[in-house]
């Protein structure tokens, strides 16, 4: 399988940056590799687009991975991984609520913390803490993409170097 992906190692985690279209495929592969414990889904406003950060742990050897994917403000949607890890259900709803990222295929994508009728997403950088949209806010240019790396991670590659677990 050819996944558009970049790998790096930060502290004790493997970090995968993936093309949003391949996000779901990479998650399925990680699930097959035994990453069974969802820690969190974070969301970031990068200035040029929105980022989803999924963090997973493998309970058997305590390996940690982080999956990042960037989407533009116009799209602002990725595939849901709730069926792979039911524990991300509220994290995805929170990311939708506060950051405005939609998750395709989520079973119950409603606002989690804020009022249901509201149409703003306060963690976006164009939202001011005073409670209004900054009038002259413009998105930044998309950074030049670094080339996607090959090959895609496999079972052996995904194991952490140096033995993280006990």
């Amino acid at each position: 399988m050819d996944l558009r992906i970049k790998r790096e190692r930060l502290f004790d985690e493997d970090v995968y940056t993936v093309h949003p279209d391949d996000y779901r495929a990479l998650c399925e592969q990680l699930k097959k590799d035994g990453f069974d414990y969802p820690r969190a889904i974070s969301s970031l406003d990068m200035g040029y687009g929105l980022r989803v950060v999924l963090q997973l742990t493998r309970m058997s050897d305590l390996a940690k991975v982080e999956v990042r994917t960037d989407v533009s403000y116009d799209v602002a949607a990725v595939d849901s991984v709730t069926d792979l890890w039911p524990g991300v259900e509220w994290h995805e709803r929170e990311a939708y609520d506060l950051m405005g990222i939609s998750f395709r295929g989520h079973p119950d994508l409603r606002r989690l913390l804020l009022e249901e009728e509201w149409d703003l997403h306060p963690l976006q950088k164009r939202y001011d803490t005073g409670g209004y949209l900054i009038p002259d806010w413009r998105p930044a240019d998309w950074p030049d993409p670094a080339p996607w790396q090959e090959p895609a991670p496999s079972q052996e590659d995904a194991a952490p170097e140096g033995g993280e677990g006990e």
Binding site: F11, R39, L113
Partner: protein
């Protein structure tokens, strides 16, 4: 529209009764609303609603410096004080490369475990209140008061101490700290048999909790629960052992687990954790030097760049934080991974099929704190 939210799936069925529990129900430990569908005594549907205490910490913290973020985190899980500060402190120390002296690590760990005991005592009292017993509450809050007094002597505040800082802690220990803690541990060890008698050996507690709200091992892991709830389902995952921080590598303790996965098992695991905390504190009281540095060198203005996820094992489970710095003195983004937040997701799994009266017992065994869930 908003009046029917959560009711859509069940409206139109005549054999199902809708009961709205909360948000001001005294047994919801805060402001939780659960819309429950009932068939007779059995729960057929449960839709939790949260957010009544939402303050958007994460947005506020983007406009504060790193030093100002730390006291904000205290306001999340307000019954376990300094435990909230540690993930942010550890993440920033990693990114800024700040060294922490050994003695400061030990002081942090002692406060961490003191607050674990305090939090479990609050849980014990309120869980028994939910089951209809008022007496344990009065005893446990008296004992918790002693811990808060010890914390106040050193840190200056009782519940929201703002005590940890980058590179160590803010002040040195009070001269009476070691004596106070040793006396308290002696006192607590005399009390624990009473608590076991009141709670774990109580036939009414047995009748209300054994076999109620069973969470399987696989479901617990997939749902991302942590802490005593996960360990009561038979998974020996504890951040203190899995990804050790501060002085935990230097102390010996066990991870109590139970395979039952029911409400009673979650009660039992919390009791065993109190014993383990006493064990850790006794070791640290001997190991910690009476004098020495309590804070390493940290710059007065921190400028951070990079991303870091750090987690600690607080009283409720894995409390994590994802800090993103853009090179300035304020965080670009902070995401808090609440332990009780993730644990509360299992409400539908545990409620459906249980009796309505058992829902209260199940909820108290999850030990939610809404300051952290709603943030």
């Amino acid at each position: 529209m908003s009046s029917t939210i959560g009711l859509e799936p069940v409206l139109g069925r005549s054999d199902e009764m809708i009961v709205n529990m909360g948000p001001q129900h005294p047994a919801t430990h805060g402001v939780l609303r659960v819309v429950i569908g009932l068939e007779g005594e059995r729960i057929t549907r449960a839709v939790p609603h949260i957010g009544y205490l939402h303050r958007n910490h994460e947005k506020i913290e983007e406009s504060r410096t790193y030093f100002q973020v730390v006291p904000f985190t205290d306001r999340m899980d307000y019954v376990s004080g300094t435990q909230n500060e540690l993930p942010v402190v550890l993440a920033v120390e990693d990114l800024a490369g700040i060294e922490v002296p050994e003695r400061a690590k030990m002081i942090r760990t002692m406060f961490f475990e003191l607050f674990r005991i305090a939090s479990h005592l609050v849980w014990m009292g309120t869980a028994m209140l939910d089951l209809g017993a008022i007496t344990p509450f009065l005893y446990t809050f008296w004992d918790r008061e002693i811990i808060l007094g010890i914390v106040e002597r050193t840190a200056g505040a009782r519940m929201l101490p703002n005590y940890y800082t980058f590179g160590g802690v803010r002040r040195d220990l009070h001269p009476h700290f070691f004596k106070d803690v040793a006396e308290f541990l002696d006192h607590l060890e005399k009390r624990m048999p009473d608590y076991e008698h009141l709670v774990l050996e109580n036939p009414i507690v047995h009748a209300r909790t054994v076999g109620v709200g069973v969470l399987s091992k696989e479901r617990a892991v997939a749902r991302g629960v942590s802490g005593p709830v996960l360990r009561a389902s038979g998974v020996a995952y504890d951040v203190r052992k899995a990804f050790p921080y501060d002085a935990y590598p230097e102390v010996e303790f066990e991870i109590p687990t139970s395979d039952a996965g029911d409400t009673y098992a979650r009660f039992w695991v919390r009791f065993q954790e109190i014993y383990q905390s006493v064990k850790i504190l006794r070791q640290l009281l001997e190991k910690t030097p009476k004098t020495g540095p309590f804070k390493g060198r940290a710059p007065a203005r921190l400028k951070i760049s990079g991303e870091r996820y750090r987690a600690v094992e607080n009283s409720r489970g894995e409390l994590g934080v994802y800090v993103v710095g853009d090179g300035g003195d304020k965080p670009y983004r902070i995401k808090h991974r609440g332990a009780a937040f993730s644990n509360l997701q299992v409400i539908p799994d545990l409620f459906i099929g249980a009796k309505f009266s058992d829902a209260i017992a199940i909820l108290s065994s999850l030990d939610p704190v809404f300051g952290e869930i709603d943030r």
